[in-house]
């Protein structure tokens, strides 16, 4: 275990959000294990109830060198939001955002039944991006689901987003930490494809530029 290096803030507060079924919980567990390995004390808060049934889901990660924090981030205090679905980013920013927050956003929409049935309209991509930019200090938009499907399964989008986060120079995690963490969590035959997804996510972020869009 290496000693915890300095964090941009302590506790450092990160939200991973998305829609039930997108692999939110796995993403937060993987990132949490990576940071634990790095010597940080990590607290993760999540609710599982809606997790498989198409509801909005959120995991709160508190990363600290000081100890355990509340599993719920206090309002307005997120440092980073990783969103697996763009409209979910807005919902989280409303509660936990502030002018200094960074956002990493998967652009692929998941339509709720209110949209499917025609009661509401899903916003246009350009509009969505502009709102998210307005509500953040830096924002990256990645077509993670598309890239994941090209790899054979949309579910890898979650790991790609964690890969992207690792490239954004926000937290001290890289592909080696990732490999160690998933080797403990997944069957051996799944490790290499997840490592590919992680690396692909990192590349996608670097292609967008480290300073965001």
């Amino acid at each position: 275990m290496t000693a915890a290096a300095n964090l941009l803030s302590d506790p450092f507060n990160l939200v991973i959000t998305g829609v039930g079924g997108q692999g939110n919980v796995l993403a937060s567990r993987v990132l949490g294990s990576m940071l634990t390995q790095k010597g940080y004390s990590v607290t993760i808060g999540e609710t599982f109830g809606a997790s498989q049934r198409g509801g909005s889901v959120m995991s709160h990660l508190r990363i600290s060198s000081k100890g355990t924090w509340s599993p719920q981030i206090p309002k307005g205090r997120a440092h980073v939001v990783v969103s697996l679905e763009p409209t979910e980013a807005l919902r989280v920013l409303y509660e936990y955002g502030n002018p200094d927050v960074y956002v990493l956003c998967n652009t692929r929409p998941v339509h709720s039944i209110a949209v499917i049935s025609g009661q509401f309209k899903y916003p246009e991509q350009d509009e969505l991006r502009q709102w998210i930019r307005d509500l953040s200090a830096k924002a990256w938009f990645l077509e993670a689901t598309g890239a994941a499907m090209a790899m054979g399964n949309a579910i890898f989008a979650n790991i790609m987003m964690i890969g992207a986060l690792s490239a954004a120079d926000i937290l001290p995690v890289d592909k080696d930490t990732f490999k160690d963490a998933v080797s403990n969590m997944m069957a051996a035959d799944k490790v290499s494809v997840n490592c590919d997804a992680f690396a692909r996510g990192a590349d996608m972020l670097l292609a967008e530029g480290i300073s965001g869009a």
């Binding site: 990590v42 509801g55 955002g97 998941v110 709720s112 499917i116 969505l128």
Partner: protein, 645 residues
């Protein structure tokens, strides 16, 4: 997770609260664990079941919580340590047995772990279990973080053996389902041999018969046990204080609220004004300890969830002490300093402290919040829960809803809690009209079924899950048959306890530990009690519709219809779509078709989308699970299915 048993003592691991509790039980050398699945408690038994063989344990998913408590108690009577686990509602079910159990006492250490769900994040009530500890007159422990969730379990077993009675350790969603860093302890080597001693003097607590009678004698003993626990609580290491010696305000809290209070004090920078007394032992309250703290401070804030349990018990103590130390001002729920319903978070504590200390605090700049609020309104359409793509319940409710409409006598469906509760919402076509405790749909239907005498002429349908059937539907079904109620019971048999993550139940050929087990066939049980029973596949929508229509139109006592189709997330189905789906854009003519977008506007499987630009439906290949049902829904035949190789 193998860390649970392979993790090294002295090392830190990131554990979910429920894993920490499970590890605590292993470190305590628990031999038997039993429970019934229910969010947020399920991972405790699940994790123990996974390591049961290695740890030489017996672990089961019992058919309901009362049976779980009985199974665990048997182990205790035989001198072993045992654990029983359930969500808050389960304690209601188990309470009949528990009230008898605590009167007679336990032998091997026995701990009950209810996991409450403040805010009802995964429940349909936020009723809590702490008041049961007071009613049962047993000690109540509440861990205040993840490390304590592990450590206190071990302590709870020791306490149980010291007093000879059941101990309750209460968790909440934000501990059970949150994760934090936990330093592991050692695992014990040996386990005692099981033997139930019953040949000694009848009143001997270790050698005699076990019962709560004679009550007048045993109740006194029981209260002495509780007094002993209180004296042990006076210097329990899990009651901690941080803050100045004479604080302006004493914050008293327990459980996950501990973390909220700590953070609120830190954010507002008032650690020199407010002291935090975190109680790990919340019933009975350690009077001397409380007195020491009350003596030093005239104002108190109590932070807890959900009912004012700590508040009321503290007020009793404060009243008793008032003559000696003077009155105290207590801010809490009853004066609305803290909300009286729902779960807590750091912001509620911040708000309370801001009010008491007359501070000002802004979570985020007001203009930011306003802007974000407008964006959410304009850009984040609501996301109501839905059945999963490919879920059998969507097809089932589609048919149920349509058949009741066809029948046209204002029929209705009574149900209970499970994935199929979503039948109350849009995704289930609002077909479900009552929803209460497990099994209550059938009991209510049994009652409605006897109201024809008073002129009621609506068809009555009850629905139940397969796990629920074993949990509590059987007695209601027997009742309905015996009293010849005219009802139709539909059992949604999706081969597992889907809602909570696919735990096995008595209808399956495998048990919690993964061993082979004899399965109990729901159809045979229904037939054996005398109900006319038919099995069908809800994905075969036409046939299901015809059978259902016939069942509800006849007046023939209890009819059972078993809808057999496994959950879309079941291990045999997940990631393996049965059909390749195709939507012919030339046949789907959208708004111009008489169906008026039946598939998306009404059926609403998330695997379907409406393409506004081109005015036709689309299959979303990321989401569609390939169940093939929408092909039967589309009236024009635009959607077709092809069996995958």
């Amino acid at each position: 997770m193998s860390e649970l048993i392979e993790g090294k003592p002295g090392q830190r691991y990131l554990l979910m609260g429920n894993q920490a509790i499970a590890r605590g039980a292993l470190e305590a050398g628990v031999s038997v664990a039993a429970g019934y699945p229910g969010t947020p408690s399920s991972e405790i038994i699940e994790n123990l079941a996974k390591v049961a063989d290695e740890a030489n344990m017996y672990v089961e998913w019992s058919s309901n919580e009362k049976v779980a408590a009985e199974v665990a108690a048997a182990a205790s009577f035989a001198g072993l340590r045992s654990l029983c686990v359930m969500k808050q509602n389960g304690v209601n079910v188990a309470s009949d047995f528990l009230l008898h159990l605590v009167g007679g006492g336990t032998r091997g250490g026995m701990v009950i772990v209810p996991c409450d769900d403040p805010g009802a994040l995964s429940s349909i009530n936020e009723g809590e279990s702490r008041h049961f500890a007071r009613m049962l007159e047993i000690p109540l422990l509440e861990p205040g973080d993840f490390q304590e969730a592990k450590d206190m379990v071990k302590w709870a077993f020791e306490l149980s053996e010291q007093i000879g009675n059941l101990v309750m350790l209460r968790s909440v969603t934000r501990l059970s389902h949150a994760s934090g860093s936990v330093k592991l302890g050692a695992l014990p080597e040996n386990r005692p041999r099981a033997r139930f001693r019953h040949g000694g003097f009848v009143l001997d607590p270790q050698e005699g018969a076990v019962t709560s009678a004679p009550v007048a004698y045993k109740h006194v003993l029981q209260q002495e046990k509780l007094e002993k626990a209180e004296s042990l609580f006076e210097d329990c290491p899990f009651n901690t204080y941080t803050g100045p010696e004479n604080p302006e305000l004493l914050v008293i809290t327990s459980s996950a609220c501990n973390l909220y209070c700590r953070e609120a004090i830190e954010i507002l920078g008032v650690s020199d004004r407010a002291g935090l007394l975190k109680l790990g032992t919340t019933w009975p309250l350690p009077k001397k300890l409380i007195r020491t703290h009350l003596e030093n401070c005239s104002k108190v804030l109590v932070v807890e969830e959900v009912i004012p349990f700590l508040e009321e018990n503290l007020k009793v103590l404060a009243a008793e002490l008032a003559m000696e130390i003077g009155p105290r001002t207590i801010f809490a729920k009853r004066d609305k300093t803290i909300p009286s319903v729902g779960e807590m978070n750091p912001d509620y504590v911040i708000a309370a402290l801001v009010k008491i200390f007359d501070l000002s605090y802004e979570a985020a700049p007001a203009d930011y919040v306003e802007k974000a609020g407008l964006c959410v309104m304009a850009g984040a359409p609501g996301r109501d829960l839905t059945f999963c793509p490919g879920c059998p319940h969507r097809a089932s409710y589609w048919t149920l809803h349509n058949v009741l409409a066809l029948d046209n006598r204002d029929g209705f469906i009574c149900g209970d809690i499970g994935c199929y509760s979503l039948g109350m919402r849009e995704t289930g076509y609002y077909a479900l009209k009552t929803m209460h405790a497990m099994g209550s749909g059938t009991g209510l239907a049994s009652g409605f079924g006897k109201l024809d005498q008073f002129g009621m002429d609506q068809p009555i349908v009850a629905v139940s899950g397969d796990s629920t059937f074993f949990h509590s539907v059987i007695p209601a079904l027997v009742n309905a048959v015996h009293y010849n109620a005219d009802i139709t019971l539909v059992v949604f048999d999706n081969s597992g306890t889907a809602m909570t993550g696919f735990q096995p139940h008595p209808g399956l050929e495998v048990d919690a530990m993964g061993h082979d087990a004899p399965s109990i066939d729901i159809e045979s049980v229904c037939r054996a009690v005398g109900a006319q029973t038919t099995v069908c596949d809800p994905f075969d929508m036409e046939l299901t519709r015809d059978i259902l229509l016939e069942k509800i139109t006849g007046k023939n006592g209890v009819q059972v219809l078993i809808f057999k189709q496994s959950c879309a997330l079941s291990p045999e189905k997940k990631g393996k779509p049965r059909y390749e789906m195709h939507l012919d854009e030339n046949i789907c003519i959208g708004e111009n078709c008489g169906c008026n977008k039946l598939c998306t506007r009404v059926f609403k499987c998330p695997g379907l989308n409406w393409d506004e630009k081109n005015q036709h439906a689309r299959i979303d290949e990321v989401i569609c699970a390939g169940c093939g049902v929408c092909a039967s829904v589309c009236p024009t035949g635009a959607i077709t299915k092809k069996e995958r190789a």
